[in-house]
Amino acid sequence: MESQPRIGVYVCHCGTNIAAMVDVEQVAEFAATLPHVVVARDYLYMCSDPGQTLIKQDIQEQQLTRVVVAACSPSMHEPTFRGATREGGINPYFMQMINIREQCSWVHTDREKATQKAKALVASAVAKAALLEPLEDREVGVTPGAVVIGGGVAGMIAALDVADAGFPVYLVEKSDHLGGHVADLNRVFPTLESAKELIEPLIKRVQTHPHVTVLLNSQVTGLEGYVGNFELQVTNSKSEGPNPKLSVGSIIIATGYDIFDPRRKPELGYGQYPNVITSLEMEHRLATGDLTVDGRSPQNVAFIQCVGSRDAQVGNLYCSRVCCMYTAKQSRLVRELLPQARVTVFFIDVRVFGKGGEEFYDETRAKRVRYRRGSVSEIYQRDGRVVLVGEDTLLSRPIEFEADLVVLAVGMEPRADTATLSTLFKLPRSADGFFMESHPKLRPVDTVVDGVFLAGCCQGPKDIPDTVAQAKAAASSALIPLILGTVPVESATAVVDADLCAGCGMCVDVCPFGAPALDPLWGVSRVNAVLCKGCGACAAACPSKAIQMQRFTPEQIMAQVDALME
């Protein structure tokens, strides 16, 4: 029997993220009064090196046997603090986290009550920590290989990186060809190189790579398993045969985006007047060099930016991040094709932040492309031309502008099938409707589902370089489990106290994974830890608690409940 536990409590400020709404000093002072607590501290960033060092030092100097960290969600930093605890010299599972950021400071506005609540949560964590049992890390083998969903630039780059590392990759593409939206472009900004020359070698490499299997006309329709060992059901819309099941260790989602349909803004006349076209249609025209409308070369060309972006009316509050640059590019190319024409860009703001972007924009303006700050609220037809009506937002004057070709710089939207995939993969979406990364700054390609990563515009609008960067990041993250060859699995499993077990087999009946079985000789339950996923269903069903879930024992849970009541 272990002697009395010695607990250290660490209350994190998270900069001001927690400290602004929770009186962290007070929480630490309170923690110091709790049973078995020998040291309680608050610190600016517990996850920082000095923060972790605090824990390690205290374990050694104060002979701590348990650690409680009151900070952010365990889904963020549980591994971090387990690591620090291990390095301090005690079993990593002697660390208990409690979340006072997502559950207190970020959701409450009354500092006193938030502090009160934080104290109760810390008390419950301390109560549980005192009863924690040591555990061993466990791992299972990984199925080598990855599935990449989406055959655009993001998907192809990610697939190639994983394949180049020597792992089999299945590239699942819904349409009948690779290349995605980039395949529809003419030239790309700011280098003006041909999109075809960019994309075709990529497609060729993918098609000929020995480790890449391309599945066209295919969609993922089923998913089972977890990081390291996923099973995906793929359905081919063209073939009758049996649908393949893919077994892989990680998954990259690179499903891209949909283009905003300007018909949703009927006031702009798209679909009604031949003079109004989308930027994508402009790409085709630029590719052929034919800009004529009704057989005549336009004299007055207008571009309207932010169509379907930054627009509360259509529900898209975000910036699509590429329209400013491609408008600059297209207007420049129009200028070159029609040296005599007037080329005007109506913008709300010009955002040309990428490498070489600002320079390109400056050059474009120097080439007599007129930029006019103004919002266009309506387009109507007059004598074969169209009239743009709106407001000059710089001069606060109404605009009435005649043009014979108008280009709508349409933005990006989440793909229509995002909802389906979100349900299938249990992936949350952010407010803009795109897939949500697990952390906007620190884990931009990870998702809440371990082993599933995001690449490209399915996570939010971005240009080609950013897409490629994210695709490569996703590939390298997806490679981690493949290269390691094992993934950690839940260390806490169900355990049976054979002396208490009456052999009723309730645990056997409720376990979805066949982990417990009745020993035919002794008539008591035994758990096959390899099969146990740690859900705890068996423990809830067992009336005498002969089977218990480690880290969630009745003693621990009831101690937590009790502490919360104070």
């Binding site: 009456a502 309730m506 002969a546 003693e555 009790d562």
Partner: protein
């Protein structure tokens, strides 16, 4: 096959004993599990292998100190085991069905002999009756024929028996069920003149082995049915009145009021045929608390009821077993504080069982409600 065990000189008990002896002598079973009378007159179950000793067997004694399903478990649960005939009352048979589902007993190698129940006394009552007035066995057995089930003057049947609406058995082999509790062999007392013969239903093959080859219709099924319906109607009336009364009490006082005088002796759990845990959670260290913990609770609540966790014990026990509660009422019999434990469990049990459309003690094949589920049930729950 339906036949009649002949009764000589009006001694029904001797006829029953003779029947049990034949089971042993014909080698049908290795032992008989049956209530036996001690020389001093107390009644307790025993596993009897020597047929001569069955002269002390008394499955008709109107006393119940134990739900015998509890003792069937250990002698049947796993191989190797002997072949056993167990003489059981309807509430014991029903408890046995639940225990089989809970893997605490087995029906393999088992001949269940179900006996219609005319009502039982608590042990202390039976002892007083024996000492003071003697037990009027003839009148007791005669009540089977009339269906006027009444305790001896000045005494009362066990609380659970007074409201028992499942006092009869039905043979597994017979077509007509009458909603009775099933057994392999059934001694059908209701509607019969037991001084003349005991109607019995049993599998043909077994009848042959026992030399009971002469099929006899016994009293007409209609007569039996009529008597059973009469008994059920009377009992149901009592039951419903008690349900209503207990509902009222629970609503007004709460279960904590009804169980206020509980001393947490765990007797109810110990005698409950369904409570099968080796060590009750409430006897485990999980519910050992530090002295300071009690002080905290006292501070929190102003006054803290002791023994601690008493309501948690009862509510948890309800959670664990109420769906399987067969209403034998041994808990009430065992409670030193004379609390209406059985009435509480039956009243609540009946409501919870209705939610899951589950009849405890019914069919061995029907799974326990809390280990199964359907995906498309209660779809509205959790979504509001």
């Amino acid at each position: 096959m339906k036949t009649v065990i002949p009764v000589e000189n009006g001694d029904t008990l001797v006829a029953v004993r003779g029947f049990l002896k034949r089971l042993l002598e014909a080698g049908v079973v290795d032992a008989v599990l049956v209530p036996m009378e001690t020389p001093a007159g107390a009644v307790t179950p025993a596993l009897v292998s020597d047929s001569r000793l069955l002269d002390a067997a008394n499955p008709l004694a109107p006393v119940m100190g134990l739900n015998a399903a509890r003792v069937v478990g250990p002698v049947s649960i796993r191989e190797p085991r002997g072949k056993i005939a167990a003489v059981l009352r309807p509430c014991e048979l029903r408890a046995l069905v639940e225990l089989v589902k809970l893997k605490q007993a087995s029906l393999d190698d088992m001949v269940t002999i179900g006996v219609d129940c005319l009502g039982t006394y608590d042990v202390p009552v039976y002892e007083v009756m024996r000492a003071d007035d003697g037990v009027d066995v003839a009148a007791y057995l005669a009540s089977a024929q009339s269906g006027e089930l009444a305790p001896q003057d000045g005494y009362a049947f066990r609380d659970a028996c007074q409201m028992c609406e499942k006092p009869h058995v039905s043979a597994l082999s017979s077509g007509e069920r009458l909603g009775g509790v099933e057994a392999v062999v059934t001694l059908e007392l209701f509607g019969a003149d037991l001084s003349a013969g005991i109607p019995v239903t049993l599998p043909d093959e077994l009848a042959e082995k026992l030399g009971l080859t002469d099929p006899s219709p016994g009293p007409s099924p209609a007569r039996r049915r009529e008597i059973i319906e009469k008994v059920i109607a009377a009992r149901t009336q009592v039951r419903d009145a008690r349900f209503a009364e207990m509902d009222r009490r629970l609503e007004q006082e709460g279960i904590e009021g009804v169980f206020a005088a509980c001393v947490r002796c765990h007797n109810c759990m110990t005698v409950c045929p369904i409570c099968y845990c080796k060590t009750c959670l409430f006897k485990s260290p999980t519910f050992d608390h530090e002295p300071l913990q009690y002080m905290n609770w006292a501070h929190r609540k102003g006054a803290y009821r002791l023994p601690a966790d008493t309501m948690l014990f009862h509510l948890t026990r309800l959670n664990h077993i109420v769906l399987s509660c067969v209403g034998c009422g041994m808990c009430t019999s065992a409670c030193p504080a004379e609390l209406p434990v059985g009435r509480v469990f039956r009243t609540i049990g009946q409501q919870v069982q209705a939610v899951f459309d589950y009849v405890p003690g019914g069919n061995v094949e029907e799974p326990l409600p809390l280990i199964t589920f359907r995906e498309d049930e209660w779809m509205e729950v959790g979504e509001e």
